[in-house]
C-alpha cells in the first residue's frame, strides 16, 4: 500500500532551506504560484521506504506575522493544508534568531522536526551544540545536517516520517509565559475564543489570542466579521495596550518578542557551548566585507562586477543565441520548401516560426543571466549590492536590490527587459518591486539600440556613439524620476523596512544554481509556447491582412514577369540592372501590401494624431510592429521605405535613404528617438510583467509609457519647430 505524506520545509532565508529541498527532491520538483499571489510554490516528490512524500518548500521567513505575503502564505498553508509534519531548517550558527520562527511553529502546535543545518561550520568555529538535550528540552526530533553536502538528509526524512506517524496529525501547542502584564489577558481571551469556537477549527485558541495582542491584521479582520466575540476581544486588547503603555511605555507585541527571545535563550544557554574564539566564520566574511563594501573600492568593484556580468551574458550569450536563431532560420527555410506559396506558408514561416523563434532566441540569454544572478544571490554579494546602493535608490522610492534588474534590462545599453523583469523576484518589498518593474522597460535594451544607431548615423553623422551615451543617461533619469512619481501617486506608501541580513559569504552550490537557472528558463519556454505564440500569430495577421486586391498583385506580377523575360534574353553583363529592377518591384509590392494591411491602416489612421510628433504612417507602422519586438522597428522601416526587410545589424542603406528623404530632419529623428526610448515595452516583457505582478499592472505599464513617450515627443517636436522655423 502506498501512502501519501505531506511534509513542509520552513525556515529563515539563507538558512539553507532551498538547498535542503534540492538535496531531498533532486530534479523531481514543480514550481507554481500560491493562488492569487506571486509567491512561488515549490513542490517536490520523494519516495522513501515505499512511502510517497510530498515535500512543499515554504517561502523563507523570519516570523509568522501578517505583514508580508510570504509569511501569510506560509502560515495559511500550515493551518489550511495541515501537513503531517513540518521540517524547520535552522542555521545552527545563529540558533537563537533562527529559533524565533521555530518557537512560533511550536506555539501553533504543528508536529515539528528541527534540522540543525550548517553543522560543519558550527564545529569548525569551535562551538558545540548538545543535540540530544535540545531535542529533550523542545520535545521534538532534532537532526544535524549539512544541506550543501547532503549530510543527514536520509536521517532527516526517517525522523520526519516516524514523527509524523507517531503524532498522527495531532497538534500540541506550546505554552510560553508572557509575564504578569500579558498572561491574564491571554488566558481571558483564550477562554473566550474557546467558548465561542471562533476559528478554533483552524488555530489553537491561545495562538489566536497572541495574534490579537500582536495586532495581527488578518486575524483582527476576521474577528470583525463575527461581531460580538470580536468586540469583546478588542476590548481586552485595548485595555492591555493601554496598561502596557502606561506602566512600561511599550507595546504588547514588543513584550511578546522579548519573552519569546527569553524563552529561546533559556533553552540555548543549556545546549550551546562556545569554547574558544567562535567568531571564525563571520570573521572571514568581515574581512572580505572590509574590501567589498569599502567606501571607494566597494562601489568600483560593484561596477566592475555588474559590467563583467553584463559582458559575459551578452557576449557568451550571443553564441548559443546564434545557434537558436540559425536553427529557426533553417526550420523556416525547410517549412518554406515543404509548403506551397501562400497564406499558410506565410503564417507558418513568418508568424509561428519567426515569432516563436525570435522569442526562444532569448533562452540562452536568460539562462546565462540567471546563472549570474543566482550566483550573486547565493554567494551573499547581492545583499551587499543592495546595502551599497540603497541610499541612492531610496530617494526615488526604490530599494537597493533594484539595481540588478535595471542593469540587466539595459542600464548598460544592450540588455534585455525580459530577464530584468524576471530578476525583480529578488526584491522582497512589494511596492519597491512594482516601481522597479514599471520603470525598467525605459532602459535601452539590445533591440532598441539599432534604432538609435540608425537615426544617429543618419542625422548626427560621426556622433552616433555620443547619441547612444546621452540616450542611456536620459533613460536612467527618466526611469528614476518616473519611479519617484509612481511611488508618490499610484504606488504611494511608506518605504518597506530595509532591515536585512548580510549573510556570510559562501560559495554557491552548482546544483542549486543550475536548478534555479533551469526553472527560470523553463517558465519562459512554456510562455513562448502558449501566449507568446498566440500574440505572434495575431501580430503577423495584423501585418498581413487584408491582402492586396487581386488586380494590384496581378499588375505587379505582370510587370515582374515582363522584366524576368527580358532578363532571360540578355547576356551576363546586362543582367545586373534588370535584377535590381526586380528587387525594386518586389520591395514596392511589400510596401504596398504592408500599407494595405491592418497595421498599415492603423498607421495611416493614427497619422492625424502622430503628426504632432512628426511621425507619418510609415513610422507608425514600424512602431506598431515594434510592440512585437523592438527589432521589428528597423526591419519594418526597411519594408515601408521599399528597401525590403532590413537586417537590424546592417542599416547603412536605410540610414542613407532617410538622410536623403526631404520629409526627415534632425528634429524628427530626435522626436522618434525619444518615443522609441520610452514607449510600450515589447509584449514578451508585458507577459513577463504580468507574471511578476498582475495583468492590470502590465497593461498599465503599456498605457502610461506610451502616453509619456508621446507627450514628450510632441513637446520636443513642437518646441523644436517653433525655435528653428
Amino acid at each position: 500500500m502506498t501512502q501519501m505524506l505531506n511534509i513542509a520545509l520552513a525556515g529563515n532565508p539563507n538558512a539553507g532551506k532551498t538547498t535542503m529541498f534540492n538535496a531531498l527532491t533532486g530534479a523531481r520538483q514543480s514550481v507554481g504560484n500560491y493562488p492569487g499571489v506571486t509567491v512561488e510554490k515549490r513542490v517536490g516528490f520523494v519516495t522513501h521506504n515505499g512511502l510517497k512524500l510530498n515535500v512543499v518548500d515554504l517561502p523563507g521567513t523570519y516570523s509568522l506575522t501578517a505583514y508580508s505575503q510570504e509569511e501569510l502564505v506560509a502560515r495559511d498553508y500550515l493551518v489550511k493544508e495541515r501537513p503531517q509534519v513540518v521540517i524547520d531548517i535552522v542555521d545552527a550558527n545563529s540558533l537563537d534568531r533562527n529559533l524565533y520562527l521555530g518557537v512560533q511553529f511550536m506555539e501553533l502546535g504543528i508536529p515539528l522536526v528541527l534540522a540543525l543545518n550548517m553543522m560543519d561550520e558550527v564545529r569548525k568555529s569551535g562551538k558545540g551544540i548538545d543535540t540530544r538535550k535540545l531535542s529533550r528540552l523542545l520535545d521534538m526530533p532534532v537532526v544535524e545536517t549539512v544541506a550543501r553536502a547532503g549530510v543527514g538528509k536520509t536521517r532527516l526524512l526517517e525522523e520526519a516520517v516516524a514523527y509524523a506517524e507517531a503524532r498522527g496529525g495531532s497538534w500540541k501547542p506550546l505554552t510560553i509565559s508572557y509575564g504578569p502584564d500579558l498572561d491574564p489577558a491571554l488566558l481571558d481571551m483564550a477562554a473566550l475564543i474557546e467558548q465561542e469556537k471562533f476559528l478554533t477549527d483552524l488555530y489553537p485558541a491561545r495562538w489566536l489570542a497572541l495574534k490579537f495582542l500582536e495586532g495581527d491584521i488578518q486575524i483582527r479582520n476576521l474577528a470583525e466579521t463575527v461581531g460580538g466575540v470580536g468586540r469583546k476581544l478588542s476590548e481586552i486588547v485595548q485595555k492591555t495596550e493601554k496598561h502596557c503603555r502606561a506602566t512600561l511605555d511599550t507595546t504588547p507585541e514588543a513584550i511578546i518578542a522579548d519573552y519569546r527571545y527569553g524563552f529561546i535563550a533559556s533553552v540555548t544557554k543549556q545546549v550551546v557551548t562556545t569554547e574558544t574564539d567562535q567568531q571564525d566564520r563571520i570573521a572571514v566574511s568581515d574581512k572580505i566585507d572590509r574590501v567589498l563594501t569599502h567606501r571607494i573600492l566597494g562601489p568600483s568593484l560593484m561596477l566592475g562586477v555588474l559590467y563583467g556580468m553584463f559582458l559575459v551574458t551578452f557576449t557568451i550569450g550571443d553564441i548559443p543565441m546564434g545557434w537558436v536563431e540559425s536553427f529557426f532560420a533553417w526550420l523556416g527555410g525547410a517549412a518554406a520548401e515543404l509548403l506551397p506559396e501562400g497564406l499558410l506558408r506565410s503564417m507558418v514561416v513568418d508568424g509561428i516560426i519567426g515569432g516563436v523563434g525570435g522569442v526562444l532566441g532569448f533562452v540562452p540569454l536568460i539562462m546565462i543571466m540567471f546563472l549570474g544572478i543566482s550566483f550573486l544571490e547565493d554567494s551573499g554579494y547581492m545583499a551587499r549590492m543592495a546595502y551599497m546602493m540603497d541610499r541612492v535608490l531610496r530617494i526615488f522610492g526604490l530599494h537597493g536590490c533594484s539595481v540588478m534588474p535595471f542593469i540587466v534590462s539595459g542600464g548598460i545599453p544592450g540588455g534585455c527587459a525580459v530577464p530584468g523583469v524576471m530578476g525583480t523576484r529578488t526584491l522582497r518589498s512589494p511596492k519597491e518591486k512594482l516601481a522597479t518593474l514599471l520603470t525598467l522597460p525605459f532602459m535601452p535594451c539590445g533591440a532598441k539600440v539599432p534604432v538609435f544607431l540608425l537615426l544617429g548615423a543618419a542625422f548626427f553623422e560621426g556622433a552616433a556613439a555620443q547619441v547612444l551615451f546621452w540616450i542611456t543617461i536620459g533613460s536612467w533619469i527618466t526611469a528614476l524620476l518616473v519611479s519617484w512619481v509612481l511611488r508618490n501617486t499610484v504606488i504611494r506608501g511608506e518605504a518597506t523596512p530595509f532591515v536585512m541580513e548580510l549573510p556570510p559569504y559562501r560559495l554557491p552550490t552548482l546544483k542549486g544554481v543550475c536548478i534555479h537557472t533551469w526553472e527560470r528558463a523553463w517558465q519562459y519556454i512554456k510562455k513562448a509556447g502558449t501566449i507568446i505564440l498566440a500574440i505572434s500569430i495575431l501580430i503577423w495577421a495584423a501585418m498581413t491582412f487584408p491582402t492586396l486586391p487581386q488586380e494590384k498583385t496581378d499588375a505587379i506580377r505582370e510587370q515582374r514577369e515582363a522584366v524576368q523575360i527580358r532578363l532571360n534574353s540578355v547576356e551576363e553583363p546586362d543582367q545586373a540592372p534588370l535584377q535590381a529592377e526586380i528587387t525594386r518591384l518586389e520591395n514596392r509590392a511589400a510596401e504596398a501590401a504592408l500599407k494595405n494591411s491592418f497595421a498599415g491602416r492603423i498607421g495611416a489612421g493614427l497619422e492625424s494624431i502622430t503628426r504632432w510628433a512628426g511621425f507619418d504612417w510609415r513610422v507608425n507602422v514600424a512602431l506598431v510592429g515594434g510592440f512585437a519586438a523592438k527589432e521589428v522597428i528597423v526591419s519594418t522601416l526597411g519594408t515601408v521605405y521599399s528597401l525590403g526587410a532590413v537586417d537590424a545589424e546592417d542599416t547603412e542603406g536605410l540610414s542613407k535613404r532617410l538622410q536623403k528623404d526631404p520629409h526627415w530632419n534632425r528634429l524628427r529623428a530626435v522626436s522618434l528617438i525619444i518615443f522609441v526610448m520610452l514607449y510600450a515595452p515589447c509584449f514578451v516583457t508585458v507577459v513577463a510583467m504580468s507574471r511578476e505582478s498582475t495583468w492590470k499592472w502590465a497593461l498599465f505599464s503599456v498605457a502610461y509609457t506610451t502616453i509619456l513617450a508621446f507627450s514628450l515627443s510632441v513637446a520636443v517636436y513642437q518646441v523644436g519647430q517653433m525655435l528653428w522655423s
Binding site: 505583514y67 495586532g215 507585541e253 527571545y261 540603497d390 523596512p497 530595509f498 532591515v499
Partner: protein, 80 residues
C-alpha cells in the same frame, strides 16, 4: 551605568547593549524578528559608502538597517 545613546550615533567598531526599541508596526516587527531586542549586544561593523545604511554585528550574524530605522533603537555603551 554606561552612557545611553541612539544607535545612529554610534561609531564604527563601537559596541553597545540595546536598551529599548521604540519602533512599532511593521518596522518594529521586522527589527524584533531579526533579534534586535533589549539586552542584545551589537557592534557597528561599518557604514555603506554613502554613510547609510549601517551594518551591525549581533552575536552570531550580521545585518544592516537604514539610519532612520536605527533612530528607534537606544543603546547603552559599556562603562568607560
Amino acid at each position: 551605568m554606561g552612557r545611553q545613546m541612539c544607535l545612529r550615533q554610534m561609531g564604527v567598531n563601537q559596541k553597545g547593549i540595546i536598551k529599548s526599541v521604540k519602533a512599532e508596526g511593521e518596522l518594529g516587527r521586522r527589527i524584533r524578528d531579526m533579534g534586535l531586542v533589549p539586552n542584545t549586544e551589537v557592534m557597528v561593523l561599518g557604514r555603506a559608502p554613502l554613510k547609510d545604511p549601517v551594518a551591525l554585528r549581533l552575536r552570531d550574524f550580521t545585518l544592516s538597517l537604514r539610519n532612520n530605522e536605527a533612530d528607534f533603537i537606544m543603546v547603552e555603551l559599556p562603562g568607560e
